[in-house]
């Protein structure tokens, strides 16, 4: 609790840090996080299209497809040491985005030291995210956008921003491919976000889209993301209980530090949650037969799962609180979407 409180109390300075306001010793990480420095910002990006007031159903599904490209790439590398097949990444014939992105792999490799059972679970999640990519591409047909550039080396800078470690690369840096426990923390970055992204996007689907089955499709993928999130959170909690203390299992605290960072990023440049307050539920360590766990991420009042807006999701995957950010973080050159630019 103390660690999280400290992180929350540091929220303002953290936001400034992330936004690159002022020169600081952490400038390197800040630049990586915001994508506003280095060569990546000078790379031509697909021309950002102003967000229309009424996005089409294809826009909504393509936003989801960008996220699935990221998740599938992460899990496939973790499970097999290789990413999506070329056949799963190209543009639809009618897409205005023509360039297939590349994956900067960083430390990405098959997770080290997995038990056969753990490997089986990684295989399942990877298989399902791969299937989601294929499903969305099939549903979108010629409108499907290609995979954007993806940077899997962003885990290091993200962990520094979250306060998990001080080294962004190399020795002492956070590497989700180095062990099953580190993998769980890496997966944790994405899973609750996927759930909230689909919840937030579902109401954007048009009545015609509802009739066409898009809403039911989104709801069904949402459920699968929640199964995955349940797996990751249950595993972190269960392994912490087995270890006996937070000190003996630091991965639980690392996951909560990721949550705190997500919460900071979610509010965006407006520095205040734009919807209904916190959309995070901190993991806890039950210590007796009469204390509750905290597996489910949902509102404390009603136990209803959270939703994030498109913009809130974008701030997280870009690792940036800036308004007008066109890329960064896991997507160094932005996503292939009408929603590519942060708006708050």
């Amino acid at each position: 609790m103390a660690n999280l409180s400290a992180l929350i109390n540091r929220g303002v300075s953290r936001r400034r840090f992330l936004a690159g306001v002022g020169a600081s010793a952490g400038a390197a990480a800040a630049l990586n996080l915001t994508g506003c420095g280095g060569s990546s910002s000078t790379t031509p990006t697909p021309t950002p299209t102003p967000t229309p007031t009424a996005p089409t159903d294809e826009d909504v599904l393509n936003f989801a497809l960008n996220l699935e490209y990221l998740e599938a790439s992460f899990y496939l590398y973790a499970a097999t040491g290789a990413g999506l097949e070329a056949a799963d990444t190209g543009p639809g014939s009618a897409s205005t985005y023509k360039t297939v992105g590349t994956v900067s792999v960083g430390d990405a490799a098959q997770v080290a030291g997995l038990t056969p059972g753990e490997q089986q679970i990684l295989n399942e999640i990877a298989f399902e995210e791969q299937a989601h990519v294929r499903f969305l591409r099939s549903a979108l047909g010629s409108a499907a956008v290609p995979m954007p550039d993806i940077d899997l080396s962003f885990f290091g800078p993200l962990a520094v921003a979250a306060g998990i470690t001080t080294a962004a690369t190399g020795s002492g840096s956070f590497n989700p491919f180095s062990s099953f426990d580190y993998f769980l923390v890496g997966a944790f970055i994405f899973e609750d976000v996927g759930v909230t992204a689909y919840s937030g996007a579902a109401p954007l689907i048009s009545p015609a889209g509802v009739t066409a089955g898009y809403l039911t499709a989104a709801a069904g993928i949402l459920a699968v993301e929640a199964y995955h999130a349940g797996y990751v959170r249950t595993s972190l909690t269960g392994r912490a209980i087995a270890a006996g203390s937070a000190a003996a299992y630091p991965y639980l605290g690392a996951a909560n530090a990721v949550e705190a960072l997500r919460a900071t990023l979610t509010v965006g440049a407006s520095a205040a949650p734009s919807t209904s307050g916190s959309v995070e539920t901190e993991l806890t360590l039950p210590t007796s037969l009469t204390t509750a766990s905290s597996i489910v991420a949902a509102s404390a009042a009603d136990a209803v799962g959270f939703a994030r807006t498109v913009d809130q999701v974008l701030h997280i995957v870009y690792g940036s609180v800036k308004m007008g950010a066109t890329g960064g973080g896991f997507f160094p050159n932005g996503i292939n979407s009408v929603f590519a630019t942060t708006t708050a």
Partner: protein
């Protein structure tokens, strides 16, 4: 979350007319073989309140099961254990239909912190779902029907061919409790998924999607824990396959001879079995099913209300090729409660 509840209520009142769903082949639904209708009931004059009341019946069942297993009491009779956990004490304010009693069940003598803490969390969350729906529905809320939490499990376990099923009690041990919980959670996901596209109000949809996410977190939690306890499938993980096979059989019968709807297949339920997957083009590996979803697209299943009714009543919703209403049996010995155009 009073604002959310008030908004929900306003929407229910405002949405007295039923949006007509266009039946027919659609682009996305067309991805699924034989998928050409959403629900045989799509033209009926039901409202969002009818759909939410159907959910409320299921939440009464789930919440009472978890309260009984965890605290040794029902949702309306707080005791020291439930109050210490912060579980809501439910005022049974629903009046539509016939109020019944909850019979059977007892507190589980938990021995592991993992399972005990998950049980407490889940009980509290299901209680909040009941509270939310009761508050939102107000005077339109159905009464709590008669619920059997005792012999119902033996009936289902026997039908599922679980070894020693006639003596099965989900209250006997941590492991048995997980099997009992497994009976419910995936069903909740499919019920909310099936209902999502039938809701007419965007805010109702958001809430339903949020509750569905929580049910999927629970389902992921249960499956993950069973997998940790029985990684080889020799014991309780093997039972999940038997239960899923029975649910799939009851669900198929609930189709009344019609083709499965979008996001439904035959079978529409999978336990924790190992299955072959192809990752990045490599077909030589296997995975473990933490997610209950269709084998091709990995989108969670959606069931219509008759399918769900046939599961929770152990076949009571179907007589030959005809629907039976009210469906009676197993967990609902006197059937569910519903308004004039509702589902029971």
């Amino acid at each position: 979350m009073a604002n959310q509840e008030t908004q929900l209520l306003d929407d229910i009142i405002a949405t007295s007319r039923r949006k007509m769903l266009t039946l027919g082949v659609s682009s996305l639904a067309g991805l699924f073989a034989g998928a050409n209708s959403i629900s045989a009931k799509a033209a009926a004059a039901y409202t969002d309140a009818d759909i939410l009341n159907f959910a409320l019946n299921l939440e009464y069942l789930e919440a009472n099961f978890y309260y009984m297993a965890t605290f040794g009491t029902t949702i309306d009779k707080p005791n020291a254990a439930s109050m210490a956990a912060g579980a809501p004490a439910i005022t049974l304010s629903g009046t539509v239909g016939t109020a019944g009693v909850v019979s059977g069940g007892s507190q589980v003598p938990f021995t592991t912190i993992q399972v005990a803490s998950y049980a407490i969390e889940t009980a509290v969350e299901e209680g909040k779902h009941v509270q939310l729906l009761l508050t939102a529905l107000g005077s339109a809320a159905v009464a709590q029907p008669a619920i059997n939490l005792g012999t119902s499990f033996q009936t289902l376990a026997t039908a599922a061919k679980i070894p020693g099923g006639s003596g099965f009690s989900p209250y006997a041990s941590d492991e048995a409790f997980l099997v009992g919980a497994y009976v419910f959670e995936d069903v909740g996901v499919t019920a909310y998924h099936g209902a999502a596209s039938l809701l007419t109000s965007a805010s109702n949809l958001t809430v339903a999607a949020g509750i569905m996410a929580v049910e999927a977190y629970h389902a992921g939690l249960i499956r993950t824990t069973i997998n940790y306890i029985d990684p080889t499938g020799a014991n309780i993980a093997g039972y999940t396959n038997l239960i899923s096979a029975l649910r799939a059989e009851l669900s198929q019968a609930g189709l009344l001879g019609a083709a499965p709807g979008p996001f439904d297949t035959n079978p529409d339920d999978y336990g924790l079995a190992t299955f072959p997957v192809s990752l990045g083009g490599d077909a030589s590996t296997t995975a473990t099913r933490i997610t209950d979803a269709d084998a091709t697209n990995l989108v969670a299943f959606a069931r219509n209300t008759t399918q769900v009714l046939n599961i929770v009543t152990g076949g009571g919703a179907v007589n030959g090729s005809a629907a039976v209403s009210p469906a009676v049996g197993v967990f609902f010995p006197a059937g569910m409660n519903a308004g004039p155009n509702g589902f029971k």
